[in-house]
């Protein structure tokens, strides 16, 4: 295998970092247009910026997770076909360019979170199929799969299934029945998030085992128990998104009951807390570990919120409010992005580099991200609670008056968002610059040998 083949994971991580930086810029524009809808009379309004932001961030997570799986595999199993992985990358590039071209032309046509013209879903699905084939052919020779291999395989398989299911609406049979169509839409959204979480939690598991040098972690009964509970939730807990939709009672009760099993995750985190504190002290100066610990704390915060929101009586007040946005942002930034940043620092920079130890600037960025994210999350929750009270009140103020009363919290949200984005952008830039420098010097070495 050539060095370029060995570094396919890094190519995905670098691409994902570029998308993160773009997503942050688009997110800021969306935030400004949310606060000042007529801002600057630009040709692109909120309807354009929101999908551009969401797609960039979703692709940051998906391509980042792909990079993590390839980089992780590199440590214990040769990749079946680096050529397939490269073809997969070109398909992604083709899809991303096409998607942004169609957004700028105002050619939407897709569903929420996947607003692009559905034709661009084809190269993504094909890229994912290549990924699945390459992965299974790579790991099939391993006699006993550690839990993170199971998690990666599950994430890959269920992403492909749910992504295909995401386009059932193109058939009139599904689209003509509004309630079923919407039920499937939220089944898909729930499962897709569950699928990329399997890829990322698998990565977090792999990194933990690697940093703590405890390979037994990946084979423990408890780890497999937690994996199957996660899989069970991926498959059946999505009903908690649609309690107000007049769908079948069994769908609503299944969502409710399965969601309540997440208390087990909660109990496990609380039970392990003392051990986690000791580990933090031990590995505090290793940057990737610190991001994993931050992700753990955000898991606790977001899991508590998710469990509460999954109780239909509570959901009645939070559904359709900014509490849901707070939860979505809290999980994508607090959990997914923290795990991905941990992976980027570990896989791109390497264990012994000084950037992974005590860099003052990076340390500052880390803490600014945590503080700004907390204010960001809190302001959305406060706006959400106020909207929840409004939507249950009788008589009700007009929608525009209610939105006007929330403006102060939206200002806090945008202000903290600017700080958060600046700090994340700085980290993204540092990682990309490092990767660029390494690539250029590697190329020089290869050229000089030739």
């Amino acid at each position: 295998m050539s060095p370029a083949d060995q570094h396919i994971g890094k190519r995905y991580l670098a691409t994902a970092l570029v998308l993160l930086c773009l997503g942050l810029i688009f997110g800021l524009m969306a935030g400004i247009f949310y606060l000042f809808p007529g801002f600057g009379n630009y040709a692109l309004d909120f309807r354009y910026w929101r999908p551009m932001h969401v797609s960039a961030v979703v692709f940051w997570i998906i391509l980042g997770a792909t990079g993590c799986v390839y980089s992780g595999l590199d440590f214990f199993q040769p990749l079946h076909s680096p050529a397939l992985a490269r073809l997969q990358w070109y398909l992604w590039l083709f899809a991303i360019v096409g998607i942004y071209y169609s957004y700028l032309k105002g050619d939407f046509g897709g569903r929420e979170y996947w607003e692009f013209n559905p034709v661009w879903a084809l190269p993504i699905a094909l890229a994912w199929l290549l990924f699945l084939v390459n992965f299974i052919k790579s790991v099939r020779k391993i006699a006993q799969w550690p839990v993170y291999v199971w998690m990666w395989m599950t994430g890959l398989l269920f992403f492909l299934f749910s992504f295909t299911e995401n386009y059932l609406w193109v058939f009139p049979y599904f689209r003509e029945h509004f309630v079923t169509d919407t039920t499937i839409q939220w089944k898909v959204n729930g499962s897709l998030v569950g699928a990329w979480n399997q890829l990322l939690y698998g990565t977090a598991f792999f990194l933990m085992a690697r940093i703590s040098k405890n390979s037994g972690l990946g084979h423990s009964r408890l780890a497999f128990g937690m994996y199957f509970l996660g899989l069970f939730n991926l498959m059946f807990n999505w009903g908690h998104h649609i309690y107000t939709l007049p769908t079948d009672t069994y769908v609503r009760y299944t969502g409710y009951m399965v969601s309540m099993t997440e208390w087990v995750f909660f109990a496990r985190i609380v039970y392990n807390w003392r051990q986690s504190v000791t580990d933090i002290q031990k590995h505090y100066y290793h940057f990737p570990y610190r991001f994993l610990m931050a992700a753990d704390i955000w898991v606790l915060i977001n899991l508590s919120q998710a469990i509460m929101m999954s109780i239909p009586a509570v959901n009645l007040y939070t559904h359709g409010t900014h509490v849901t946005v707070a939860h979505a942002m809290g999980t994508t930034i607090g959990i997914n992005t923290m795990i991905l940043l941990a992976a980027c620092f570990e896989f791109l920079i390497g264990k012994n580099n000084v950037l992974n130890a005590s860099n003052k600037w990076l340390n500052g960025c880390f803490w600014v991200i945590q503080a700004a994210l907390f204010i960001f999350w809190l302001s959305l929750n406060i706006a959400g609670v106020k909207k929840g009270i409004w939507q249950m009140s009788e008589p009700q103020l007009p929608f525009s008056k209610m939105m006007e009363s929330l403006k102060i919290w939206f200002s806090v949200f945008v202000g903290s968002g600017v700080i958060l984005a600046t700090a994340l952008f700085t980290l993204g830039f540092v990682l990309l610059r490092f990767q660029w420098t390494v690539s250029v010097s590697r190329k020089r070495v290869v050229d000089s040998k030739e």
């Binding site: 909120f46 607003e115 003509e176 079923t180 919407t182 499937i184 199957f228 498959m235």
Partner: protein
């Protein structure tokens, strides 16, 4: 060792596929809402997506947060078909004036008529049971 996780994975997958199938088959057993032309409503859903209405508006509390929930806008006192048609042409402060064709407007209105006929999205219309579940009053 690999067999045990593989067996558990297979059993869960079969349960998941059965659950999914029960949802996919539903439209075949349910009659269309009275007074709604399902072909037009189905085309209207595509218009909703083409103009990315979901960026700002919700249906059953699902969607964007800039504008109001439109599930029952068709039958809401003081709103309804005429206001929808007018707003699509003129726009309001946050919402641009859309250049929709008359056919697209008709389809979109049929879609909103369908969402309205499917039920109420007003959370005040629910009661809370002792189990924590909610049901329509």
């Amino acid at each position: 060792m690999i067999l045990k996780p593989a067996l558990a994975f297979s059993l869960l997958s079969v349960a998941f596929l059965t659950f999914s199938l029960s949802i996919y088959l539903k439209p075949g057993f349910v009659a269309a809402a009275l007074g709604v032309e399902k072909d037009k409503a189905s085309a209207g859903r595509l218009v909703w997506q083409k103009y990315n209405c979901q960026s700002c508006h919700q249906l059953y509390g699902l969607g964007g947060y800039l504008g109001p929930d439109l599930t029952n806008v068709y039958s809401m006192p003081g709103k309804g078909e005429n206001l929808i048609r007018a707003l699509l042409i003129t726009g309001v402060v946050q919402m641009p004036a859309f250049q929709m064709s008359e056919k697209e407007t008709d389809h979109l209105i049929e879609f909103l008529k369908q969402t309205d006929a499917s039920g109420s999205a007003d959370p005040r219309g629910f009661s809370i049971l002792s189990s924590g579940m909610t049901i329509r009053k």
